[in-house]
């Protein structure tokens, strides 16, 4: 660690004893957001079983603060597209996403939501939920284990906390 950074941290420590923290408002808000996602329980197929099991005590999603699965999109800021998105359901999914208040994120859980999965050539299935909803994190698996979902949500946490890094990986600038 360089000397300058260490000096900054020491100053911050000294300020902390006086109960003062210095940060930008966006960083502070993001810090709050990433520690309490309110996912919308949008389970479409068998991935929803894994999503429900993630919230249960064995995997204990609540230790990260993400356990409040909301049945209403108006009280949610994260949409977990868990399962096969059919073409009949697609307008409804978009409508639910539009009803969520900003800022909002979306996770594609499972192969079906990522790319259509085994149903990619079916007449009734949307080949990838990203053609309907802007997706932030893709979690492959059929279905992904609860650990994968937790890892995906922690990746989303990283993405929100470091917007510059996410932009760099996606767009190179």
């Amino acid at each position: 660690m360089d000397v300058k950074r260490e000096m900054e941290l020491r100053d911050a420590e000294a300020m902390e004893e006086k109960n003062i923290l210095l940060t930008s408002i966006e960083k502070f808000l993001n810090w709050g957001r990433v520690h309490s996602f309110w996912p919308n329980s949008f389970g479409l197929a068998c991935c929803a079983i894994e999503m429900a099991s993630t919230g249960n005590p064995r995997y204990d999603l609540s230790r990260f603060g993400y356990e409040v699965f909301q049945a209403s999109p108006r009280q949610a800021d994260l949409m977990i597209v868990a399962g096969t998105l059919t073409r009949k359901m697609a307008p409804v999914a978009r409508r639910i996403y539009d009803q969520m208040p900003d800022p909002k994120w979306a996770i594609a859980m499972g192969n079906c939501a990522c790319s259509g999965g085994p149903f990619a050539d079916s007449y009734a299935v949307v080949p990838g939920a990203d053609s309907i909803i802007p997706i932030d994190v893709y979690i492959p698996g059929c279905p992904p284990r609860p650990e994968s979902l937790i890892f995906g949500m922690l990746q989303l946490k990283q993405k929100i906390q470091n917007p510059a890094k996410a932009r760099l990986i996606n767009y190179g600038k």
Binding site: R87, K88, A90, P91, V92, R94, R95, A120, D121, S122, Y123, A124, V125, V126, P127, G128, S131, I132
Partner: protein, 162 residues
Amino acid sequence: MVSDILRVRVSELAARFNGEVEENLGELELTVDGRYILEALTDAKNFADVPCDFLHDLCGMDLGDYLEVVYQLSSLRGPQRLRIIARVERDNPAINSVTQIWKGSDFLEREAFDMFGLQFRGHPNLKRIYMWDDFEGYPMRKDYVIESHEQRAVMRVRKEGE
């Protein structure tokens, strides 16, 4: 195991409607023309001693030259099982609805209509059940061509009250 008494009843029925009987996967299979399906099923429901009075399943089939409607019959009062197959023309796939015999065939016939385009005459509410109302074609037919990846990725417009 097919009981002898059921075999006799089915062959009587086949003689009346000019059908064929064969044994397939341990069950009797009666193939009749689609025109006689209502009478044939009414008789099968009222077989003496071995009534096949429970409609287990109903589905369509596409055999290329013609379509088939398959009725899987069983009973809550015995081990008897019977499969009745009705042949319908491909150009004019019309057949009488069996909703007047079994109320529960309502959704099954709607599914067969949705997937194969079978027109059930006398059905109270014959419309698509799985696919949306604007969907064109009957996806389970052999000659159905699936839309391209790009077409399927476009979000369709939802109708109000759908």
